[in-house]
Symmetry: C2
Subunit: 478 residues, 2 copies
């Protein structure tokens, strides 16, 4: 194929009066003369100037929104504003037509709901091009952060026989004909005959396996898909989502908080640097969306300001107990504006409480620590007070919980006692308990919900818009 230059590289160069070939898709074609061409390498289009008087009319008719073109021409200083250069076309080839009567993406504003139904084409819009380039940068920045610090990327299993964490409803994985699974003599499904010789499901977390790696390699992280079969039709939940789970040997809860805060700042900073134009576009988009809202519902900061604010300020760290005190004394609680009134110590925090702390009280990201053990997982390290565990959750404005982590219970007796208390079968987790039998050490880790991070950095409002093909109740299209 003839060498082409990507539009991003072309627009970053100042050279004019050279001949280049670009390839991409038509966004608009105005006055039979100006093609806005985009190839996905950047949010910006290059303008192709067509010598329409000397161009075949049949060819001109085929230059429609969505068509794929190869264009060779001369780079010239731009006639219009905003862009430094145009391409004066010498040769235009239509590689793939796009019937304007049938092409679903017209050159106008479509609703996000409509675009979700044509998720196979929404990559071709400014908004989704920007989102998925930002998502890409965030992914890579996560790897870069951990690699720079000597963490080993560990692929923990997706199919698992243990649902011991009890983190929620799981999807079953089976090779059986579901209409007619083999049965034992007593009529139960005979999982011994299933592919793995036992009942299996999709993982809800790679943490337990991650700990096994950390107990030898010191620092590991996972970055893989996780699954919840919860019937949650919200803007914050997906049935299939990606999670990052670092696990660190010889680390306590303070180390854990430091790494999580550094990670979040690093990846936000990376995206701001690599995807400036995309984030500026998304920031602008959000401001326009905001204008449609009543004054009191509008954001105090633009997206760009919010991201910068996150970088410039330390996250507020306080205990659950301190947070409860603040909430109890808060105006909305006293005025009974909370749907769930905060009455005392021990209850789980609701989204409205988290948002109050982050958005109203501290006006910055918050790390809450030392939650009551009853509302947290069995593997979290028990504090000396006998009531709390060394948990830490990071709450972000507009997002709520973006990170959940803890120091892990490394003491075998305490861990087994807690498992007994809440009925987690120890024999299923023999391998997990082995790490407490042989060379246990203080260790800690956390889970970062990747889509929630992308939501935050792109300023989007619905988690279904920040993953290419969202999976949620009644939807597995594409």
């Amino acid at each position: 194929m003839s060498q082409r230059i990507k539009i991003k590289a072309l627009l970053e160069s100042d050279e004019t009066n050279i001949d280049v070939t670009v390839k991409g898709w038509v966004r608009t074609f105005r006055n039979n003369q100006f093609i806005a061409l985009n190839d996905g390498s950047t949010n910006n289009n290059v303008q192709i100037v067509v010598d329409f008087e000397n161009t075949d009319a049949a060819l001109l008719k085929r230059i429609t929104t969505g068509a794929a073109l190869s264009v060779t021409g001369t780079v010239v200083p731009s006639l219009g504003k905003g862009q430094k250069i145009d391409i004066k076309a010498k040769e235009i080839e239509v590689l793939g037509d796009s019937d304007p009567e049938k092409y679903p993406l017209q050159p106008k504003k479509h609703s996000l709901e409509f675009l979700r139904e044509i998720a196979h084409l929404r990559f071709r819009t400014n908004t989704f091009g920007a989102i998925f380039r930002v998502r890409n940068s965030l992914s890579f920045a996560i790897h870069q952060f951990f690699q720079d610090r000597g963490f080993v990327y560990l692929h923990t299993p997706v199919i698992t026989a243990s649902d011991a964490e009890g983190a929620g409803e799981t999807f079953h994985v089976t090779n059986f004909d579901i209409a007619n699974p083999p049965r034992t003599e007593s009529g139960e499904v005979d999982y011994k005959q299933d592919f793995f010789g036992r009942a299996t499901n999709l993982t809800v977390s790679g943490q337990l396996e991650g700990e096994l790696g950390a107990m030898a390699l010191s620092d590991i992280y996972t970055f893989g898909p996780t699954f919840r079969a919860e019937n949650s039709n919200t803007t914050r939940h997906l049935a299939e989502f990606w999670m990052i789970e670092p696990e660190m040997a010889f680390a306590d809860i303070t180390d854990n908080m430091n790494v999580a805060e550094d990670l979040l700042k690093y990846v936000i900073s990376y995206a701001l640097d690599k995807n400036k134009e995309d984030i500026e576009f998304l920031s602008q988009r959000l401001q326009e969306e905001d204008k449609q809202k009543p004054q009191n519902e509008r954001q105090e900061m633009t997206l760009l300001e919010k991201l910068q604010f996150c970088l410039d300020n330390n996250f507020e760290r306080l205990t659950y107990t301190e947070a409860i005190d603040i909430l109890k004394e808060s105006t909305p609680n006293k005025k009974k504006k909370f749907q769930y009134p905060v009455e005392g110590w021990g209850t789980d925090l609701q989204s409205e409480h988290e948002r109050y702390l982050v958005e109203k009280h501290f006006k910055k990201p918050v790390i809450l620590t030392d939650y009551p053990k009853e509302i947290k997982s069995f593997y979290m390290r028990q504090n000396d007070d006998g009531k709390t565990v060394a948990a830490m959750d990071i709450l972000f404005p507009g997002i709520g919980e973006i990170v959940g982590g803890s120091q892990r219970e490394e003491r075998l007796d305490k861990l087994e006692q807690r498992m007994d208390e809440i009925g987690i079968p120890k024999d299923e987790l023999w391998w997990y308990l082995d790490t407490r039998r042989f060379g246990a050490c203080p260790h800690a880790g956390f889970g970062l919900g990747f889509e929630r991070l992308v939501l935050f950095v792109t300023g989007m409002g619905n988690i279904r818009d920040v993953i290419p093909f969202p999976r949620f109740p009644k939807n597995a299209e594409f």
Copy 2:
């Protein structure tokens, strides 16, 4: 926690006469005096010299293989050979004991089979530490390669309703109680009531969705888990494995081969650079294993030589048709040494044929192109001869197929005709066909089996040893 230095960083520094703290696990403890401590950051241990005369006997007894220690001491020039420095211990704390009567990993050589049964602990051996550090580097190098070239990392869905590719047996994913799924009036399983409102399974490939991204972003890649429910109990197959699938718009089969060859060389070179000691260790390991074999079964090259050879030589490129001619005329074919004799054009190549081409005939990696359309997938671009498709497979010594790819059929009529011929339902793939309706363009891509790459670079013989927790028939432990 007190600041510690990782052993890798310590051994890379030349500084002596400073005090440091290291933390890790005991590999061996000789003569009540010399601890070999490893923290997973490197294959090398640091030697701790214990002043046993002035150390509590009770403490000495607790320094056993597998125990987790924190050691503070002075860095001194090494007494032994191989290592430049030792640590003269001032303070030793046992963070976690390891009962030598019960710890499964004794300081001796264990079989790989045994270690597979204790996969939760095998990270603590030299061999598996090296393997998983190399795996980590290969993962990151893949991201780095594509990021440097402007590819967008795309997370394609794991749960999917389309099994249209027909790439093999899939696992079912369901939220039903398998013992008693809801039925329609006619007695069939009523998938409308399942979580996604239809029957779903685990993806066998992200390619089709990847193409959707490429048709807007130009260059994308996936790197995620894929699944095959095939009852293959071999050293080359897993039920759950990771795959890298780049997809490039405006690219043909030659571009495809160039990118694949560049990628493989880049990541091998990266691992050789970053993991020199690990690969040297694995190379040594393989040589020792080789010594147990009869002369004629031994490798001609060491692992290090084989990897370097791969970097220094162009992969041999030839068509399937040319390969068949070579195989027909080959000595093993004439002497009827092949289990499957090569009789003529049109048959699929068996592993023995691939190995002959790569290991005996060309003695280097081989790219085979232009296979008969009957033995390849429906989406591959049909060549003008009417018989072959623009497929390309890369074959590696000792591994066989490591990459499979093709230029994709971008012409709607040809694609639909082929789907009709082999009975692939077009309505299920409406979204895939849409990319051929609206702005189609020549494009190409391939799939790289990640574990096969790790096998090649580590020189291991069984794919179950290069993924942390392998999934295969009758096994989903950990």
